[in-house]
């Protein structure tokens, strides 16, 4: 078609290739070389398997690996189970808009802030223990390891508090594409119970639509660092945390086994995804056999209710955690087992003012920069598809998900090596670049569906009225898509604010953000100050989501079809 469209597509391809794919590939390559002994900076230039032997011999290595597998795979499977049961129970009773409103706070809050809040709630001196104290007759916190427990149970719970809302969101959006009510009626008329129809008929249709997001959850859970530092076992920690520690060890020779660990982390994720994939194949075969037998006797009802109760407990814990951040940041005297502080104060905010103002400034700058860059690139990509009258190819779709499936620890060390050589490591530009690798995919995924859902004939009508491609973009598409565009931007802000490892590695420890400060403070120092940072960390994405809701509502207040129906 037009030259213009071709130029735009070429630009987008170049930016994606050089800006997103190249850094990841180079980062993996550098990490991979170091894993096999090549690290010219240390004078190592020979291929060897020694880093792997060193890795296996590091204290706690086997435990770390086991913890990673248990918490990562366990939290994903449990979350999937609970979310499925919850959907089956409440789907008919909740409108998409209501469920989106309920889930948004849980999706917006960064993992680290949620972890800090959960630590406040679960700790032996936390809210749960304070509620139980009068009944159990405690006058001091019990001597139990409820956070940082050796089994990783607190981490498992923390991951689930974040994963279940995300899975609910993708499931509900998948369900909106399926005629659930009709199929449920048809299934029940054939004598199947509600839960059985759900398992035999609805879920097999939902799964292909949520498969990729589930992989992303699995990859994330296996390689999360910030939440694992705050809630997980500390000695030995999960593999990703251990690898992060080895990378930042004072002894540079540790870089070699650390790189081997980083590559192992990527292999673990790949194997887990492969396992899930083969499990899917097995379930398909077993499911078909089960379906063809036509049994109607089983009732899944108790399971459904148990799952729903589980989700309710998780969401309640998450809500308490968010509240506890604010309460601790305003607490002054709060002795055990009082439910609320005896005295309140703005003192924590005042004392830490210099620190949090600087961190807040950095965080907002990073969020604005990565959000704007990612949104611009996403719009350019989608507009390029439009101008070529093309739909997306499968490899392009896979490209978008790549940074979300690769563990961050797998390539961030190598990426920083590249940045060091380019002389940009430690600068704000390097951090913006590294964060954008993860912000862009989420923005792109959030914007793609609403963009494509726009009636093509609306654009044909504009063209037939003489509007060229740029006028169609500025005067028709962008205003109509204002709400999804701002929502995508808010998601971008939330992802940027939550980034820990990219900021730590490519910022060379010099760029302090709310997240890096909250993670550092969470290990032991003053809860009030930690509460200040975590509150701000949670507040920033909330503000972005609020703006994404309020701005279109205000601008389009007299446009019915853009306020009501478009809300979902």
């Amino acid at each position: 078609m037009s030259r213009d469209g071709r130029l735009l597509r070429a630009c987008v391809l170049a930016v994606v290739g050089l800006g997103l794919i190249a850094p990841i590939a180079l980062g993996l390559w550098q990490t991979g070389r170091a894993a096999f002994g090549i690290l010219p900076a240390l004078g190592r230039t020979e291929w060897t398997l020694q880093p792997w032997h060193d890795l296996a011999a590091l204290p706690g290595f086997a435990t770390s690996l086991r913890l990673t597998l248990v918490t990562g795979i366990g939290s994903t499977l449990l979350s999937l189970l609970l979310a499925t049961g919850f959907c089956a129970t409440v789907h008919a009773q909740m409108t998409p808009a209501a469920s989106a409103r309920m889930l948004t706070p849980f999706l917006a809050i960064p993992h680290a802030a949620m972890a800090v809040g959960l630590a406040f709630v679960l700790a032996p001196s936390g809210w749960i223990a304070r509620v139980v104290a009068p009944l159990a007759g405690w006058d001091r916190p019990p001597d139990w390891a409820t956070v940082n427990d050796g089994w990783g149970l607190a981490l498992l719970a923390g991951l689930m508090v974040k994963e279940v809302p995300f899975l609910l969101l993708v499931m509900l959006s998948a369900l909106s594409q399926i005629a659930v009510a009709q199929q449920m009626a048809a299934g029940r008329a054939l004598g199947y119970g509600r839960g059985i129809v759900w398992i035999k008929i609805i879920m097999p249709q939902v799964w292909p639509l949520i498969r990729l997001p589930v992989w992303v959850v699995l990859a994330y859970a296996l390689s999360v660092v910030d939440m694992a530092m705050i809630l997980g076992p500390s000695n030995p920690p999960t593999l990703a945390v251990a690898v992060t520690r080895w990378f930042t060890d004072a002894d540079p020779a540790m870089l070699l086994p650390a790189s081997a660990g980083a590559i192992l982390q990527a292999v673990v994720v790949a194997l887990a995804v492969a396992l899930l994939w083969s499990g899917e194949g097995l379930a398909r075969r077993l499911g078909r056999w089960w379906l063809r037998r036509g049994g109607r006797g089983l009732s899944a009802e108790p399971g459904l209710w148990a799952a729903s109760a589980g989700v309710a407990v998780l969401l309640a814990a998450g809500a308490l955690a968010m509240l506890s951040l604010l309460v601790w940041s305003l607490a002054w005297r709060w002795s055990f087992p009082q439910l609320l502080p005896q005295s309140w104060s703005l003192e924590p905010w005042a004392t830490a003012q210099m620190g949090w103002l600087r961190a807040l400034g950095n965080t907002m700058l990073l969020a604005a920069a990565t959000g704007t860059l990612s949104l611009t690139l996403a719009i350019a990509w989608l507009e390029g598809e439009d101008r070529g009258h093309r739909s997306r190819t499968r490899w392009a779709e896979a490209l978008i998900y790549l940074p979300l499936l690769l563990p961050q620890i797998g390539f961030l060390y190598g990426l920083n090596v590249v940045f060091l050589r380019a002389g940009i490591s430690g600068g704000i530009g390097a951090v913006i670049w590294a964060q954008a690798l993860f912000v862009f995919p989420y923005v792109m995924i959030a914007l793609s569906d609403p963009w494509r859902a726009l009636d093509r004939r609306m654009l044909h009508a504009a063209a037939a009225l003489g509007a060229g491609p740029w006028r169609r973009l500025w005067a028709v598409k962008l205003p109509i898509l204002l709400r999804p565009i701002l929502t995508a931007a808010a998601i971008g802000v939330a992802v940027s604010v939550a980034q820990y490892l990219p900021t730590l590695f490519t910022g060379a420890g010099r760029i302090a953000t709310l997240t890096t400060e909250a993670v550092t403070l969470s290990s032991g120092s003053d809860r009030r100050i930690t509460g200040v940072y975590a509150t701000l960390q949670a507040a920033l994405p909330f503000a972005a989501y609020l703006a994404a809701f309020a701005v279109p509502a205000l601008l389009h207040r007299n446009r019915r079809s853009l306020t009501g129906a478009a809300a979902a």
Binding site: H389, A463, A464, G466, G468, R472, P479, R560, L562
Partner: protein
């Protein structure tokens, strides 16, 4: 003004032709009707003439407007207007701004443009609705506003894609008369796709069976 299709043929991505090469002459003010079963490619034919073909389709033959081949031009340069069964008014603009969107940029001056829009609203029985939200109009009002938007762009030809299919029986006759009267009064060649033989009869022009 006239619209001519010369040996027009559309090939899908796999290379098969959707229908036999089509040659048509539509003189000014005439409305030619294309009929045929669903899925035979009637809407794709209109997409091809208007310049909206999706990637993968290939066009052979010519689309001539008053003798000039426009088939290599982008849609916005063809001056071929569209009327759909849904009005497809831009939801973010007021009714008046929807009409102003179609007004040629050559018409200068805020007052002159506003006057042109008001006159068109008046003709469509929508006087005083300049600032209304299109979502608050009735179906008939929406259809008339959409037609006025299309006509204000001064199209050299019109494509009507099942333009009356969504309207109930009483409204259908009214909008059909309104549309066809305007097309004939302005002497615009028009091509209409429809399932309804009554539409073809009302149009009064030649009927082409596709497929």
């Amino acid at each position: 003004m006239s619209l001519d299709l010369h040996a027009l043929c559309i090939h899908s991505a796999t290379g098969t032709a959707l229908f036999a090469p089509l040659t048509l002459h539509i003189p000014a003010g005439a409305v030619v009707t294309v009929m045929g079963p669903s899925g035979v490619g009637k809407s794709t034919l209109l997409d091809a003439i208007g310049g909206h073909l999706a990637h993968g389709f290939r066009l052979s033959g010519q689309v001539l407007l008053s003798g000039h081949d426009v088939s290599r031009l982008p849609a916005e340069a063809r001056r071929i207007g569209l009327v759909f069964q849904e009005a497809l008014l831009f939801p973010h603009l007021s009714v008046g701004d929807n009409l102003a969107f179609g007004l040629p940029a050559a018409l200068r001056g805020r007052k002159l443009r506003r006057a042109a829009v008001e006159a068109a609203l008046d003709q469509a029985g929508l006087a005083g609705m300049h600032d209304r939200d299109p979502a608050t109009l009735s179906g008939g009002q929406r259809a008339r506003a959409a037609l006025m938007r299309t006509l204000l762009a001064e199209p050299a030809a019109l494509l009507l894609d099942e333009p009356f299919a969504n309207l109930d029986a009483g409204l259908k006759a009214e909008i059909r008369r309104f549309t066809l009267d305007h097309v004939k009064a302005r002497a615009i060649p028009a091509l209409m796709v429809t399932h309804d033989p009554d539409d073809a009869a009302a149009a009064g022009g030649a009927v082409v069976a596709l497929g």
